[in-house]
Symmetry: C2
């Protein structure tokens, strides 16, 4: 009788107090990225982490806490060593811009940039602290770096001195838009990243005017 009931594989229990939280966060990250906060079930996270649902509550207060930990971990991991790039570089502004942007384009192609963007848009209203964190840890540093590139360009007399105001904010706009395009229309109408990057730089550098 007991044997008959044992058709489903017998789960072996392990005690691994130290590793659990990180494993739960990793599993949560994968599930949340795929389905968003609402549609992700704790059961799914538990199954992916190879534990029972109750175990999650040994380490996290509730679902929201798991989510916050997951997003923070992801931000931490993706947060490029922004800024370090432009310090020790001695090429032209255009080359520097290409270097920075192509790295960003890489993150878009690989998916992490779009995932974060989507998460911020969909879960922002429910987790305003996360928006704050994102703004402060990612957006502001990125803008500062762009401003640095512009200043450097002006100093090297490669770009016009009026290029000060919101420009640093807009220079990356086509990349942001591409990231959004990936979220919305990647299947409907795919974009050729290499060509797009070339033209992004050309437009930003040269403008339309003849």
């Amino acid at each position: 009788m007991q044997d008959m009931l044992n058709t489903q594989e017998t789960r072996v229990r392990h005690r691994r107090k130290e590793e659990r939280p990180a494993e739960i966060v990793a599993a949560g990250l994968a599930e949340f990225a795929e389905r968003g906060f609402e549609r992700t079930r704790l059961e799914d996270i538990a199954k992916r982490a190879g534990i029972a649902k109750g175990t999650i509550y040994l380490y996290f207060r509730n679902k929201e806490a798991v989510f916050e930990a997951a997003v923070e971990a992801h931000l931490e991991a993706t947060l490029a060593d922004v800024g370090a790039l432009s310090q020790s570089f001695d090429g032209t502004t255009e080359e520097l811009l290409r270097l920075i942007l192509s790295r960003f384009y890489g993150q878009i192609a690989e998916g992490s940039a779009s995932t974060i963007l989507r998460t911020m848009v969909t879960e922002g209203p429910r987790f305003p602290e996360l928006l704050k964190l994102y703004h402060e840890r990612v957006i502001t540093p990125a803008e500062a770096m762009m401003a640095g590139v512009l200043e450097r360009g002006v100093a090297r007399q490669e770009i016009s001195a009026e290029a000060v105001p919101h420009y640093h904010r807009m220079i990356a706009a086509p990349a942001i838009m591409l990231s959004l395009w990936q979220i919305l229309f990647a299947e409907i109408e795919p974009i050729d990243f290499d060509r797009y990057l070339d033209e992004h730089i050309a437009l930003v550098m040269g403008g339309l005017r003849r």
Copy 2:
């Protein structure tokens, strides 16, 4: 006894077969825009429309059907008579661009652009047909219009002839980004629309190079 129970206001029943669907769609639109698909309850839509929950099911198959009808109605309503603008205009390219963009900026400020964008990002995975519709009815026409502006500018010899490839797609990128900014950071760090628009046009027209 009956009188005692009648403390809550007595709801009067009305039979208005014709007007109901539109009213339900309008109520749904408001609720969905505020809370998104998942978090919107049929009860709320019913209450806003001044009817009982069951009545919705006389006119719609289920919650998804209400949502689709609402978004389609909104798209229909917001879909500017795009294209008509650039037909009969005889100013410079820069002036035309300013005309078109300032209209778009108006929609961003007023909120409708951001609402649609947010909806597409959050509900896109669940309603791919809506993404298709959006791409086909809004994005493609808008891109065609922008391409028209560029062609016209080249013909008038106001802009460089190389301005053909993805440029028409990127010209509006700062506006898309602003729309996104409104969704994410409107409270954290507000942006001055007028200045931003000026600089948007200046950047796109002139580029960075000196």
